[in-house]
């Protein structure tokens, strides 16, 4: 994800700001990292350049299915 995506995304539960932590990036994009809600502390993963902003229960359901 491009860092400018931060302007349009928020926590799906609280609609609060997210804090970006970058583990890996290239010239254009964040490839691996996390987004943490500044209100509720929920952590959302960024994997292969794609942030997963599903609420935790839906995300877990999908991880269980995979």
């Amino acid at each position: 994800m491009k860092e400018s995506l931060m302007d349009v995304i928020c926590c799906p539960l609280e609609k609060a700001d997210l804090e970006l932590d970058v583990d890996e990036r290239d010239d254009e994009e964040v490839l691996e990292g996390t987004l943490t809600c500044t209100e509720c502390g929920e952590v959302y993963p960024i994997e292969d350049g794609i942030p997963n902003l599903l609420p935790p229960d839906m995300r877990e359901e999908e991880e269980a299915a995979a």
Partner: protein, 188 residues
Amino acid sequence: MNRLDRDGPTVYQPAEDSGLLAEAAIEGARGRVLEVGTGSGWVAERIAAERGLRVVGSDRNPHAAREARDRGVEAVVADLLDPFRDDAFDTVCFNPPYLPTDPENEWDDWMEHALSGGESGRELIEPFLADVGRVLAPDGVVFLLVSSLTGYEEVLALVEEAGFAHAVAREESFPFETLTVLRLDRRV
């Protein structure tokens, strides 16, 4: 059941409905664009390419988000409009899963999520319309694809309830359904 390892496609590929939505959006999109349920990312890619606009594509299916990203779309895995900020977009496009599906016959895999609109066919249109006004900038515009199978009049009632005026941007008839792209503007 392992939903990811079954045979068959896991991501909805562009069809007549996608083409119609792309035509309408290319003509009317402006500013910052969100495509909800972007699937393969084809519509989002067309809007970005033809109009030079910034287009974000979201889908609840991670396989779809990956395909969209491979097309160069800024992809997010999300449930409808949940993780997007208030007033963030000038244009929102949505080709919803709209086929009315008997609950007994739901088959619970990624293609079902891409096609089925629940028993009424409007199971995703309802929450989308209830929330889209939040993420839309004050003079923003929505392009929503509606099939006659989903109940055109019922969708119009939901649109009005959500505080939008509607106009037909594109319409095309096929043997089993008529597809309409509605352009929605906030009622003043």
